[in-house]
């Protein structure tokens, strides 16, 4: 499987050097060869994929192709996909064949991009290592003893292993950026409201946002062009004029002001990660950027705030999984109440149950003000910090995660240790700001290091410009794990 960009694949398809069917088949072959060791996909359905590819070929032949028509893509198993098993990584939905398409899926279908399958993920997107999946952990393609990150672990791993040229992910507290960092690919979480959440199984509604995951920033820009857009079925979808996220890719970085939050370079950051990020900053300076130290004082509160708000919303969002209308129902029960309690005890995994309990507790009588309301107030303080920062810089830069990939099982018994992985990614979700991760090095164990950019609202094109210029000057994003057959 050659390393290739989406624009190169699109050019080959347009030039009839390869058909969409042939291309899809190549990726299906690689999935067939690698998935048993990586476990990146929960569902692969070659017949459906090839049928969609054939339809794309027909579009190309008829001269009705769009920019990415015929390029296949893998979808996180959080997106409802008509006729496809859609599990959200949970036993609760182990048998749920979605009867409708998520808005994001509709957009990729309309763009003529065949689906390669549904990627593995932490159960209901709750996790940072992809170990909470009911369908088993995903292995990091750089070293299968290590986790790929989460929750979009299957998406990141399949792109890193070149089992798919691109993938969709979702990000509630870092679920696109952290696995992108740990797998050495590029991933972007857009401004909240740019991508419709309709059909994306909800974790924390006010934080969830879908985005692209691919080797390069340029790829992500092209995918973002497909994914974004107003959807009347999502009340939080923003009505904005359509923009071309690739339009600024080639602009020079002269005069770019890069904000470096001192809190993101403080205690807890792995030395090798710090060094790689500092090298990247030096690279950007060479490209004409200047740096300014900034402070995001309240960002240290992001984790506690997040672990109140996200579980609160999740506890309510996950109440619909009750064994009545779809999904898992416990086999034996004595009464209606018993059916609810057993279905939910058996259908949900430990981490999901933990978060439901946290959420039910912080919303319960007598605790609401002290937990939920207090967290919402600090959420505003965190967002205000960003507003201040963007008065003196164009983009904020720091590490994506405090370290590189950790070993499978290393943190799975310690929830708090696991939660700290999202220390640098959560603030952008709370503020609703766009954030992205791009590869900026390898550590001494040969594991990828991720660099995070956080931009102001709707500044995706600017961030992609910075990332693309960095990727033109470096080749970290072009590296793929060796030794995968």
């Amino acid at each position: 499987m050659p390393d290739t960009t989406l624009s190169a694949l699109a050019a080959q398809l347009a030039g009839k050097q390869i058909s969409s069917r042939e291309l899809a088949q190549q990726y299906l072959d690689r999935i067939a060869a690698l998935n048993s060791s990586i476990n990146a996909f929960i569902t692969v359905d070659a017949e459906k994929t090839l049928a969609e590819a054939a339809a794309a070929d027909a579009l190309i032949a008829a001269g009705n192709a769009g920019p990415l028509t015929g390029v296949p893509i893998a979808h996180k198993d959080i997106f409802c996909t008509d006729g496809w098993l859609t599990t959200c990584g949970s036993k609760m939905l182990h048998n749920f064949v979605a009867p409708y398409d998520a808005h994001v899926i509709q957009r990729f279908k309309a763009a003529g991009m065949p689906s390669l399958g549904k990627t593995n993920m932490d159960e209901f997107a709750m996790g940072s290592s992809n170990e909470t999946s009911h369908f088993g952990p995903v292995k990091n393609p750089w070293n299968p003893a290590y986790v790929p990150g989460g929750s979009s672990g299957g998406a990141a791993a399949c792109v890193a292993a070149r089992m798919a040229p691109a993938a969709t992910g979702t990000d509630t507290g870092g679920s696109i950026r952290q696995p992108a960092a740990l797998c050495g690919i590029t991933g972007l979480k857009p401004t909240y409201g740019l991508v419709s959440r309709y059909g994306m199984i909800a974790f924390a509604s006010s934080l969830d946002q879908a985005g692209p995951m691919a080797p390069s920033a340029e790829d992500c820009a092209l995918l973002l062009n497909v994914m974004t857009g107003f959807d009347p079925k999502d009340s939080t979808s923003l009505e904005r004029e359509k923009e071309d996220y690739a339009r600024n890719l080639d602009q020079p970085l002269t005069g770019l002001r890069v904000g470096l939050p001192r809190e993101f370079f403080a205690e807890g950051l792995n030395n090798e990660v710090a060094a790689a990020v500092e090298t990247a900053v030096a690279e950007l300076k060479k490209l004409g950027a200047t740096t300014v130290e900034i402070s995001l004082t309240n960002s240290k509160l992001a984790i506690p705030v997040y672990y109140v708000l996200a579980p609160a919303e999740a506890s309510s969002n996950l109440s619909r999984f009750d064994g009545v209308r779809y999904g898992y129902r416990a086999p034996d029960y004595a009464s209606l109440d018993d059916m609810y309690c057993k279905t939910r005890a058996q259908g949900f995994g430990a981490e999901v149950k933990r978060r439901i309990l946290i959420g039910a507790y912080v919303l319960s009588h007598g605790y609401y003000d002290a937990y939920y309301l207090q967290a919402q107030k600090i959420r505003r303080l965190i967002a205000d910090d960003f507003n201040e920062a963007f008065k003196v810089c164009d983009v904020i830069l720091g590490p994506t995660a405090p370290g590189t990939a950790f070993k499978l099982g290393e943190k799975s018994d310690d929830p708090v240790e696991m939660y700290l992985n999202d220390l640098y990614t959560i603030p952008a979700n709370l503020a609703g700001l766009p954030g992205m991760s791009l590869p900026c090095g390898l550590d001494s164990k040969g594991l990828p290091i991720g660099l995070q950019l956080v931009g102001n609202y709707f500044s995706e094109a600017k961030m992609l410009n910075v990332a693309h210029q960095y990727q033109r000057a470096t080749d970290w994003h072009a590296r793929a794990p060796e030794g995968l057959k």
């Binding site: 859609t86 009867p99 959440r197 909800a202 939080t236 309510s316 209606l336 609401y368 939920y372």
Partner: protein
Amino acid sequence: MKWETVIGLEVHTQLATKSKIFSGSSTAFGAAPNTQASAVDIALPGVLPVLNKGAVECAIKFGLAIGANLNRINVFDRKNYFYPDLPKGYQISQLAKPIVEGGALKIVVDGAEKTVNLTRAHMEEDAGKSLHEDFHGMTGIDLNRAGTPLLEIVSEPEMRSSAEAVAYARALHTLVTWIGICDGNMQEGSFRVDANVSVRPVGQKEFGTRREIKNLNSFKFLQQAIDYEVRWQIETLEDGGRIEQATVLFDPDTGETRMMRSKEDAHDYRYFPDPDLLPVKLDEPWIEAVRAALPELPAAMQARFQNDYGVSVYDAAVLTGSRALADYFEAAAQACGQGKLAANWVMGELSAALNKAELDIAQSPVSATQLGTLIARIQDGTLSGKLAKQVFEGLWEGAGEVDAIIEARGLKQMSDSGELEKIVDEVLAANPKSVEEFRAGKEKAFNALVGQVMKASRGKANPAQVNELLKSKLQ
């Protein structure tokens, strides 16, 4: 000990929108199970709510109609609990910032007016239905009703008797149907009443512990349920017992209330603002447009009827019992120029006939113009009251217009004085005994002679004219 009853009502009105509050499903009643339950209504994973503008407009209308405060920014919250007819595991409702706060409704009880203040009214979604007939020991769930828009209207605990509670519920029912936000069909559950009832010794300031009677779907049941509940609470207290806060159901068969078994564990609804919905903003041009389109309201119409047509407080309240009735009355009154007479006919002859035939005013076989013409014929002396009733019967049977019926059936009052004089002379000649008695000072004998003349004229003589003629002949 003397006891005082304290009642507050919570009324769930289904809003008369075509589609559901958060989805594009039909709200039509009576469809086959789950055929009007869309992906949003059955809460498939990933679906999201989008608010129906029509539902918000209904709430604005209501707020304006009761003179309430409309919260320019109002917010939807989630009320979390598990129940199989609640597909999401939460109901989308409004807790902290409802769309309507305050306002008042005038009621008339025993001819006296009273004002009942409202606490609030908020938008929310209805639940589905549990069908308890036996499916192998299981319950069947129909989600067609899930997501139907409701306006929950909460009164202050200001009613002091079941009669006041019923008058309030009726006035509210009139208002919501009047302004067209609810079809008012109580059998189909479009207007459901919960009554919070407590008692306290007369003179005590604090409220007693209340019990909530759920889901009363007729005014009769409302009255019966409250009366039973009040008796039960007083007896319990007088026997030295205590009232525990509880939710109860009314059984129309036994006429008693009983505790709901499923509500045994204390609810903790974990309300929080729904993150899938944004704050709702009501802008002034919208509110003003809704205000401009509101019809004249019952209270204003009652005052005007008293003023313009000289009808009593009681009659004005009855005549504005529905918009159709009020419109009928006004059209009839204008057609004859006789407000009081029109009121008597509408509330008397017409209402009796409609009740007997189980017809609604809108289905009346006699039109308002016809009734007005009939009354005009009484006024101009063409018809006596008795003849008028015969003409009314003709109208009811569809025998044609007023004058045609009078003509065809020969119901005209006798206006030819020569003809009448002839009848009077004959009657006087045939009843010498009555004439003698009258001359001897017996007033009763005069009435007997009037009756004889009327009889001989087959009711067509004008009684006033008969009186006059008899008197002159007997002098």
